[in-house]
Symmetry: C2
């Protein structure tokens, strides 16, 4: 404990007070921390941080960040799968922020039309699936990730008002998929969806919230890492 020790204790104390306020105010941070243990999609380069300036040597600390547009909690834009598709900086904030329904799905494997039919989301624009993935993610890759079926993707596009769809795993589509039809159906709709992946829903109960989804404002790209918060 140096001369600043008490100050930082105060800060952290206050931050702990923030934790209490956090519960009172109903902020739930559903973003995955980016660090050395962050689970990475197979084949993608992992997130890493490095020192650009060091406190002792340079007088202040500045860190370099290496990540991808799909590291940790992130959104997919249509240009992820479509040449000439809208890029992440063209996705309106109005779509990313507003009322959201967190729906718990208990099925193993794919979320199909049957599971969707059992949910009530009349008029819902933003839909997040809490699944068995939250038993493992974000600590680890789920053994058999729960994802959306192609039929369910079509159902969402054709039969519902949903425009943003989220899930508690790094992809809403099965890893084995070779044609990526779930992504293509969602992102290629006449009014393209936004896909929100890599959510930490362990502390989130099913129900209605306000979604605040804030991707980095990167120009012209296929997606972006995001800080995502629910307000109860």
């Amino acid at each position: 404990v140096d001369e600043h020790g008490e100050q930082w204790y105060n800060y952290l104390d206050w931050a702990n007070g923030g934790e209490i306020m956090y519960k009172m105010d109903g902020f739930i941070d559903i973003s995955v921390p980016l660090g050395s243990r962050t689970v990475t999609w197979p084949g993608d380069p992992p997130y890493s941080a490095s020192a650009v300036l060091e406190l002792e040597r340079d007088g202040c600390a500045v860190s370099g960040l290496a990540l991808t547009t799909h590291s940790g909690t992130h959104i997919d834009a249509p240009s992820h799968f479509f040449a000439g598709g809208a890029t992440v900086d063209q996705v309106p904030l109005q779509l990313l922020c507003g009322p959201v329904l967190v729906a718990e799905v208990f099925s193993a494997g794919e979320i199909g039309v049957e599971e969707l039919s059992g949910l009530s989301f009349c008029g819902v624009e933003r839909l997040i699936f809490k699944t068995a993935n939250s038993g493992a993610y974000p600590e680890a890759r789920p053994q058999e990730p729960v994802t959306l079926s192609v039929e369910a993707a079509r159902y969402l596009v054709e039969r519902t008002s949903v425009r943003l769809v989220g899930i508690d795993w790094l992809s809403i589509e099965a890893e084995e998929s070779v044609d990526h039809l779930v992504h293509k159906v969602l992102l290629g709709a006449a009014s393209p969806m936004v896909i929100l992946e890599g959510l930490d829903l362990r502390a989130t109960a099913a129900g209605s919230y306000e979604l605040i989804c804030m991707p980095l404002r990167v120009e012209g790209l296929d997606g972006a890492p995001a800080r995502v918060v629910l307000r109860g």
Copy 2:
């Protein structure tokens, strides 16, 4: 215009509808776009994006991002200047989100105690300075950036309820500063401030708003790039 042309037109049309809603809803995006023209702090590595997967070759597009914790719109955490100081992931969301006052300061050079005395921010917790910097930034570096004086930093810490302070340039402190006292006074306060830098305030009038400031949730670091929005 390919077979998807109309779809993307629809999307962008809808996005344009979003622009209209944007004005109606009073969302103002005060984040600087990250791209090849993004202004970088002298000596820091610039933001860059690269292709990890390419649409034609790999079937989908994924981009690599290289940036720093202080690229574009970002927040500074106490550990930017203090060993053992709180890191960006320890800054409570309650501090980053809530009522904010955007105060226009017309002075050239430093914002001093005199300028602060002329402003009314009784009870204000979040204060953003709109300055002459917005005549150049974020398009370019202002010729002589307007920054905060050390005395004004002390005034904010000792005499006001401000806990978050923002500005329309990449640093709240003069580039020539060697002792970084403005940062140290703000970040080293008994209840440390959060500093919000690199804001695009060109379209923002002085007044009261709701601030939504969402830094990436990077673990253990000195700051983080953020998406920052005002709601009128």
